[in-house]
Structures are given as C-alpha cells and as structure tokens.
C-alpha cells in the first residue's frame, strides 16, 4: 500500500538534500558559541562524520529500495517493535518541524517584525506549507532546484561583497581550545544540520533512481549543502571576528556589515529572503514526512486528511518548546545533539545491522 504515488527524479532528490542542509546553515549560533573561531574546522569534521551517517542511510535505501522507514521498521523488527520505533520517529519528525518553525518564527519576530505576534507569522506560514504538503512529495520538492541555486548565488555574491570587511587574522589562533570543545562542536554539527537528512529515508519509494546511483546523488546533494555551510561559517568568522559569539544570527549581522557605498547597503534583506524560502522548503518537507509517518502507521488511505491537524499540532508544539532564545541555544548546544544521535545514528545503524544479520532485503524478494 502506498500513500503518496508521486515520483521525484534523481536531480530533484539531489537538490532536495542540498536545500535541506542549506536551510540549517543560516542558524549557526549554537555551535559557533562553543567553538568560536575554529567553527569552520569543526564543520569540516562534522561533514566527514555526516558522511558516515550518509553511508548508513544509503545502505538502508539500497537494501530496501521500495520501502520507507515505517515499512522497513515493520519488516525488520516485526509489527510490534517496528511500530514502537516508528512512533519514536513520529516524535522526532514532529519535534524537528516544530523546532525549525520556531527558528523561523523567532527570526521574523526578533529581527523583522518585532511588534507582530509570532503566532500570526507561524499560522500564515504553515498555511502555505500545508498547501504544499497536500500536494504531496512532487510539490514539496519541486522548487528545490530553484531554491538551491538562489541560495548558492547569494552565498557566493555576499562572500565577494563582504571581502572588504574580511580579516583573515580572525581565524587565529587555531586549535587553542580544549579538546572536549571540538568534540562537542563536531557532535553538534554532525547531528543538527547534517544528520537530519535521515528524513529522506521516508521518501525512498518515491525516488526514481537506479539502485546503484542513489549513493552518488545523495552524496552530491550532501556535498553542496555541506560546502555552503562551510563557506558561510568562514565568511562570518572572517568578517565578525571575536564578536561573533555575541549574536543570535551571525550571518544576519555579517550581511548588515556589507556596505559598498551608501546606496548598496542593507544586505540583510537577502538573508531574510533566503532564510524564509529555505525554511519554507525544510519545514514543508519535515511536515510532509510527519504527516506521512502518521498516516502510514495508522494505515490511512490518504495523507491529505490529516494535513491540517498535524499542522496545528506542529504550531502549538513549537510555541511551547522553549521559553526563550537562550534556553533554545542552551538545549541546542548541550542536550539536543545527544537525543538526535539516537534517531539519526543508533536506530538506523541497529536497523541496518539487524537487516543484514536476518538477511532481510526487499529487493531480493523480487517485487
């Protein structure tokens, strides 16, 4: 039984992955506050660790090319334990969507429209997401290519525009912090932006790629996202220097510094534009995945009926997540990475191991 019959092509899948990671690159404060001027090193480490995650997901995808995460769990662990695992993923996906929605709402609420109640922004934003989600996977990923190109273009352009303010001495001293800080930073960055691509396990059946090519496209998309992240962090550190740890939105502040002449300034609007478009993509994807998991577990005929309901849950969830930005940052750098590690690394790894041991594979069943 398949709930969504939409199909996405290889390049759409690749850009969806890239876009998904790029969406996290704009909110970097929670690991920059840990590793300061060495954050770029940490993001390279995180990228490498992320490759391990990627390898696990690709192996799962290759093993079960026409099954999504819920079906894999059922197949590997049996209906009861598999359902428990899938329920854990409902929690994970809902939390992720709520967190991202909260990030978006915080940004708009703090930086752009301070007097507007956040709930208004969240509701109007979620209305559009719900519309996309109702359309299914094809609609959700359709604009990924466009979003990725816009973002990459803006990142590259701002890199050059900020060149006047760049001071490479800001990277010094390198490797002068306690080892644990690097470990923590790598942990945060590998779980929060990179590991989140575990959600793509939910759309495996919809991807029209030959089995042996999945890894290639997945890695390419991952690399585009990862390189954008590293570029953004390099730019921000080089421009802001030691002040970077003060800000909640370092990239926003970097773009504010750009001033070519009195006419070509106020570049931060570009940041707002890409943040909102990318967040639209990421949240609608996570939203879609949450809806899909729930309808799959409860064996609904169509995912469309529960779109509005899940949307309301996500909005309410996101308004109750944290009291303040500081608490959010604190959790983001100290608690969440450990939680995420379970969903992004341990569970998929266990699933893969059990599947290999029990020699379960959907492709060999000869469907």
């Amino acid at each position: 039984m398949k709930i969504d019959n939409g199909k996405i092509s290889a390049s759409q899948f690749m850009f969806a992955v890239a876009c998904f990671i790029q969406a996290s690159t704009l909110l970097t404060a929670f690991f920059i506050s840990v590793t300061k001027q060495d954050s770029w090193i940490v993001s390279i480490f995180g990228f490498l660790i992320g490759m391990i995650f990627l390898w696990i997901y690709t192996a799962l995808m290759k093993n079960f090319p026409n099954k999504n995460l819920v079906e894999i769990n059922d197949l590997v662990f049996g209906p009861v334990i598999g359902k428990i695992f899938s329920f854990i993923y409902i929690y994970f996906f809902l939390t992720l969507s709520a967190l991202n929605l909260k990030d978006m709402g915080d940004f708009v609420g703090i930086a752009i429209m301070p007097d507007t109640p956040t709930i208004v922004i969240l509701v109007s934003f979620m209305c559009i997401c719900a519309w996309a989600v109702r359309g299914g996977i094809e609609i959700v990923t359709r604009y990924s290519l466009f979003f990725t190109f816009t973002t990459s273009f803006i990142i590259i352009v701002t890199f050059f525009l900020a060149f006047n303010d760049i001071d490479f001495n800001n990277f010094l001293p390198i490797f002068n912090q306690p080892f644990m800080k690097y470990l923590q930073g790598t942990h945060i960055i590998s779980t929060i932006p990179f590991g989140e691509i575990v959600v793509f396990l939910m759309v495996t059946p919809n991807i029209e790629i030959p089995k042996n090519k999945i890894g290639k496209y997945f890695t390419l998309g991952f690399a585009i996202g990862g390189i954008s992240l590293i570029l953004i962090i390099l730019r921000d550190i080089a421009v802001l220097g030691n002040v970077i740890t003060l800000f909640t939105f370092p990239s926003f502040e970097t773009l504010r510094m750009i001033r070519l002449s009195s006419t070509l300034g106020r570049m931060e609007v570009l940041f707002a534009v890409i943040l909102i478009t990318l967040m639209f993509f990421k949240i609608s994807f996570l939203y879609y995945v949450s809806v899909l998991v729930i309808s799959q577990i409860f064996k609904l005929n169509s995912h469309k009926n529960i779109v509005i309901g899940v949307g309301i849950i996500i909005i309410i969830y996101s308004t109750n997540l944290y009291y303040s930005m500081i608490q959010h940052m604190e959790h983001g750098s100290n608690i969440t990475p450990f939680q995420w590690l379970i969903y992004e690394f341990l569970l998929p790894l266990i699933t893969l191991t059990v599947a290999k041991i029990r020699k379960i594979s959907s492709s060999e069943e000869g469907n």
């Binding site: 930086a111 301070p114 109640p117 109007s124 001293p173 030691n242 002040v243 504010r256």
Partner: protein, 392 residues
C-alpha cells in the same frame, strides 16, 4: 485541482494581501522620526546620562507639507536624562507624536566627560537592540555630544550625516580614523587592547559650524585616558596598515620635499627574544615625490639618497614617538597583545594577566625599506637640471 478551486485560492490570496501588509509593524514615513545621531553625555548624577537624539525632519516636496521646504533647520534635537539609553528614548517618545526610528542612526557620540567615566555599560544596548547596526560610527566629542549634534554645518545641515560622510571619506585614506561599533566591541572583548575612538571638535562661527576630526582618543578598558594628536595618528597608522597613500613631508638641511608613501607592505611579527617579548616590524613602501624645494647644485642621485635616508629616519621617528607615547600611557592601542595571543596562544595565556606590566617594557625592532619609484612627470627639478646635464 479544478478551475473553480483555483479561483477561490486566488481570491483568498488577494484578500490576504490586503489585510496582512506589514502586519503590526508597518512604519509609514509620516509616523516615524528618523534618528540620525545619538549622543551620550555625563549627567550630574553619576548613575545617569544625558541622552541627546538628533532627529531629522522629513520634508515632503509634494503633498500637504509643502510650506516646510527650505525653511528652518532640517533637524531637531531631543534630550533626556535617564539611567539607561532605551528608557531615555522611551521617555522622549512620549514627547513627540511620532515613534522614534533608530535603524538609520549614523553616529554614536560619547561626550568626553562620559568617556572619562567609562562607556562599557552603555555599549550593551547598541549590541543588543535590533534597531542598532554594528557598522555605525563611534565618536568621542571634544566637549559634549550635545554640542556636536546641535551644530549646523554648511554643506550638510544635519551634522550627524555630515560627520558620517566625512568619516567615510576619511577612512579611505586613514582607516584608523574611523571606528565602527563592531571594531570597538571586538577590541573591548580582546581585553589586552586599548580601543581608540576618533575625537570630533566643533568650531562655531556665525551660526555655521565646522566639525573636524582632531585626533584619536585612547581608552584603557573603557575609560578615556589620553589622546593621539594628528601627528601621532600618522605614526599610529603606519603600523596599523590599511592605508593607501599617506602624504609625508620631509625637511632636510638641503631643502624641503613633499612626498607620499604608497603601496605599503607591512609585517609585524611578535617574537620572544632573550630579554622578553618584542615586536619586529618590517616596513616596505614606495615613495613618490610630489614637490621639491631647494637641493640646489646637487645631483639627482644624491638627492634621492638623501631623501630616502631622511624618509626612513623620519618614519622611524614618527612610529617610535607614537609607540613610546602609548607605552607611557600603558595602553596597547596596536593590539600587540592579541598578536602575541594569535601567534603564541599557549605562552600568552600566562602573560595575559601581566600584560599591563609587560607592555611598557615592550621593545620594537623596525626595519624600513623605502624605494623612490615615482617622481611625477619630471625626472629632474628646475634648479638642478643644467647641473646634472653637465655632469653627464
């Protein structure tokens, strides 16, 4: 999706467009007062400050406010005394019909009195408040901030905007003569560095005033302790780099030459020598000759040699003069402490606490290489032309 549905969606979107424009945050031009300058002076009470806001008047060239054009000044000044900056602004907001809009604030000016008391505790709001930008210029007034913000200038009536433009053009030649909020914050966070902030002096004559940057104020921690006059600022900027072309005139016993030094390549390396840390400076630059007076009966080569030698001597003198001055004040205006930290993070960790004792003892090694590359459109000068020809 059928056609009927599509129409309904379209209508909904159009309606949303009307009701959601800017939501609660719409700021129309006739509801805001745009602040162009913000000044902070010491109040009588130690815990309080005198806040001065320079607000520019919005003059419409069309519409119902036609009569206002060309009459009166283009700005007005508001003052309040309060313990905090934002609470002072709130107080002022009640006095005027419009809301105060800080996004376009051009300069932050501290009065000298307040700078002597310390400015750190008032910095927080500029970093925290979302309306403030990190690229805003920071200045210290020679008298009070109010004096500057109330002054009317000839070219730009609005003194804050005028100052901002002045600093912007100044900063192209001498980058040290401009301090952005971000630079100041960054230097304050470095702990060992003493920030410098440009000083503005206003001379009022016949209603119109002239503002000029008269030097750099040196802050230790966050308190004003002294200033560099323009002579020393030049000595300072040689080492800080980032200058394109600096005019430089030399007087020798044979005559006077006006030169400019450009294409400066500077390397300052912190080093640990036998008797403690020292700074080694490697300075390379091109000298172009702009004007020569005197040097009669001399060969070109001789003149060049003399000029080169005296350039180097004078450069060294200027650099050391400024450096010694800062050593007397015990203020690390160059950020050498940070250079050491960046180069030798492990060793410097121990030195950091004692930096105040080390800095006055710090030595400087200067190695200057200058080359005369440009002589303008002549090769020889008027006075020496014939002589040199004879010699050939």
């Amino acid at each position: 999706m059928n056609k009927y549905n599509r129409r309904i969606y379209l209508i909904i979107i159009l309606i949303i467009n009307f009701i959601l424009t800017g939501c609660w945050d719409n700021n129309e031009l006739d509801t805001i007062s745009i602040v162009t300058g913000l000044g902070i002076d010491a109040a009588e009470n130690d815990d309080e400050i005198d806040l001065t806001l320079q607000v520019s008047k919005i003059k419409g060239t069309t519409g119902y406010e036609k009569g206002a054009v060309g009459q009166g000044s283009s700005f007005f000044v508001m003052e309040a005394t309060d313990s905090g900056i934002l609470s002072g602004i709130d107080k002022l907001e009640k006095q005027i019909p419009r809301s105060i809009f800080l996004h376009h604030n051009q300069v932050i000016i501290f009065g000298k009195e307040q700078a002597k008391k310390g400015i750190k505790k008032y910095m927080d709001v500029f970093i925290r408040e979302h309306q403030m930008r990190m690229e805003t210029w920071v200045l210290i007034s020679d008298s009070t901030a109010k004096d500057i913000l109330t002054a009317t200038m000839e070219q730009e009536e609005n003194s804050a905007i005028g100052l901002s433009k002045m600093i912007y053009s100044e900063s192209r030649d001498y980058e040290v003569l401009s301090t952005k909020l971000i630079d100041l914050t960054s230097k304050m966070m470095e702990k060992t560095t003493s920030p410098v902030i440009p000083i503005v002096t206003v001379n009022s004559e016949n209603g119109n005033s002239e503002a000029e940057i008269s030097g750099l104020a040196i802050l230790k921690e966050d308190k004003y302790i002294g200033e560099l006059d323009l002579e020393r600022v030049r000595g300072y900027s040689w080492i800080m780099g980032n200058c394109r072309e600096i005019p430089f005139n030399i007087k020798t016993e044979h005559g006077y030459a006006d030169t400019s030094i450009s294409n400066i390549k500077l390397k300052n390396k912190p080093k640990f020598g036998a008797d403690g840390p020292f700074i080694s400076i490697d300075f390379k630059g091109d000298v172009s000759i702009r004007e020569i007076q005197g040097f009669e009966d001399m060969k070109t080569n001789e003149i060049f040699a003399i000029l080169q030698r005296s350039c180097v001597e004078q450069l060294k003198k200027e650099i050391l003069d400024c450096f010694n001055y800062s050593k007397n004040l015990n203020a690390d205006i160059y950020g050498f402490g940070t250079e050491f930290y960046r180069k030798y993070p492990k060793n410097f960790e121990k030195l950091r606490e004692y930096w105040d004792e080390i800095y006055p003892e710090l030595d400087m090694e200067i190695d200057i290489n200058l080359e005369i590359t440009d002589t303008g459109k002549v090769l020889n000068s008027l006075y020496m032309e014939e002589k040199t020809d004879e010699n050939r």
